[in-house]
Symmetry: C3
Subunit: 272 residues, 3 copies
Amino acid sequence: MNESIRNSSAGQSGTRFERGLAILGEISGTRGAAVVDSLADIAPDLGRFVVEWAYADLYDRAGLDLPERELVTVGALAALGDTAAQLNFHIDAALQVGVTPVEVVEALIHLVPFTGFPRVLNAIGVARAAFADHGVTIEPPVMDDDRDRYQRGADKLVEIDGQHGPDVIASLQDIAPDLGRYIVEFAFGDVYHRPWLPPRRKQLVTVAALTALGDTAPQLRVHIGAALNVGLTPAQIVETLTHVAAYAGFPRVLNAVRAARDVFEERNMSVD
Amino acid sequence: MNESIRNSSAGQSGTRFERGLAILGEISGTRGAAVVDSLADIAPDLGRFVVEWAYADLYDRAGLDLPERELVTVGALAALGDTAAQLNFHIDAALQVGVTPVEVVEALIHLVPFTGFPRVLNAIGVARAAFADHGVTIEPPVMDDDRDRYQRGADKLVEIDGQHGPDVIASLQDIAPDLGRYIVEFAFGDVYHRPWLPPRRKQLVTVAALTALGDTAPQLRVHIGAALNVGLTPAQIVETLTHVAAYAGFPRVLNAVRAARDVFEERNMSVD
Amino acid sequence: MNESIRNSSAGQSGTRFERGLAILGEISGTRGAAVVDSLADIAPDLGRFVVEWAYADLYDRAGLDLPERELVTVGALAALGDTAAQLNFHIDAALQVGVTPVEVVEALIHLVPFTGFPRVLNAIGVARAAFADHGVTIEPPVMDDDRDRYQRGADKLVEIDGQHGPDVIASLQDIAPDLGRYIVEFAFGDVYHRPWLPPRRKQLVTVAALTALGDTAPQLRVHIGAALNVGLTPAQIVETLTHVAAYAGFPRVLNAVRAARDVFEERNMSVD
């Protein structure tokens, strides 16, 4: 570590800085410290904020484990779309803390219905490079059954979204029925149907991506509800939103908390 | 084509996959298949989804022809801003299906009032590279009459947006009158005044870009209305929004459908 | 300058074009004209619009001086995130018109709570390159006192945001109290507490970034209020929003003007 950074935080915030560095080392080896060091020339305090706030304050919190936090981070970064360097770092970190390469790819494929193909295709390119650097190879699973895409999608839609799902599809019948059909067939029959990432992890990634994307309040309400449906707790959902603040800023997160509040109140649930 | 991709889709979805590949070949030669092949190592099903959902399901739909679909795609990608590889691919595809280079450039210039200069300048750089690769040269038209920018802008504003346009300008008089003046002079007197892309195509590009951009509900309502004013049908507008789902995801499109519904209801129009 | 560009604007708009070029030269030396020239091959009128609308119309306006305009531009571009070339250009321009390198870095650090770390880290990389090209070195200030982060953050929150600030924190107590704590400790105790960029400039950068980001209406209302609290006038705030139109387009700016109107009306203030 650069001495000026060390010294600037010695004494008053040594504890947070040291704890943040330790977590950064756990997820990235020496790579995170190198990023922090690289800021010493023009923005040393920015490096300190990364260590102290992102890692000591956020990553060290209970509520989500490190593999979950890295999946949330990957979801937020893929949705932002213009952060290839950070996405590479956190795909590597995800592997480091035990997320499998297949789960990383499945998390990205899962995002297509939410972000569209281009950002996912770019993120897959980043993942390929990160896998190569990390020295992992992957035997990608292939879905070889395309029967009954509509029916299995309709079933999955109810399973995940509850009655909100069919309501959205029904509301499209008079104006864009095929758009509704694609949500059933493609988003649920093709994508949600994939079994290689557990439903709770899919919803963590979904909520993170919708939060980072912005202008998605109705969809956040549906998918925060879906997160509860698959067994995440209100506390875990709030934890996910809080974590995303480091990647997408407080405004997006405050708006998402408003959506979460609506859902929790509707279900008479509270956070604790 | 990679054999595992071929096989994974043989039997149950061979028809959609083959049809999608044929359309992909029509718009991109061998380039699209190469993109799909490049996904075989870590995400073969993602390549299959591109072929089956984006190309077999969406590009093959009636309602918009291929040149219109490529202009819609270019508008959405330019507005997203962080998708240079895909924008290059689809500018090339636009040329392939008969959009002229001048129309591509005019579509991008048309977006300045909606996205600002930076994303358009970056997209022009992408277009330049795509034109060079495609081996086309361009004699760009130049507007050499700058007289009466305000008056011709005010006329164009009413022609395109109807009474909503002057209402927006009037609403700015007490707080930001010069902002209103720039909308008249620049967005309409300079940009909309340009005659080298037909009004219907301008509105397709506009609606696609606003949808992809997000947080533009009031402007979507005005410009979906404008799309109707220049002769697009409700079905074509819904078709445009549906197409954009592949590039910007369902949440943005569902929000835009809500804006379209408001406009259609206000005008007692329906989609059929 | 390319002759076709010169000629296209001679006569009718020579005055605006010449005035725009002069300002462009003032902020960028020969670099701006080179950008305009580079557009002559496929989009000469786009280059003319940059000169005439962005520079002659917007940069030449009263209300904000050139250093303020460049800070506003840097804030908008950093928030957009996918515009590295333009950000490099305008960080260089900021230095050219007298913004110090430390102020540039402080403006970027200031954005972390609004945009998250990734876009700021990328912007810092752009700044580093621009500083090197410009031949400036920087002795970055370091905050070496981390005592009482919560208390000093709470004080700063009231100083900047007035009662709206504590209201936001209080509203989070039942659902995401630690998120509220981080806003106090990190956004205000760490970041707003930094003394190396004057409060008015911080609010110019904040309002520009929130406008460009989109989907931030509640935060824009709080921070337009904060801009008034630290001494900016309604006219300067509207001037800031108008300026951002060149970088983020009219839709984002029209939505931000709506937020500004709410705040001005609540305080019985008007623009003149």
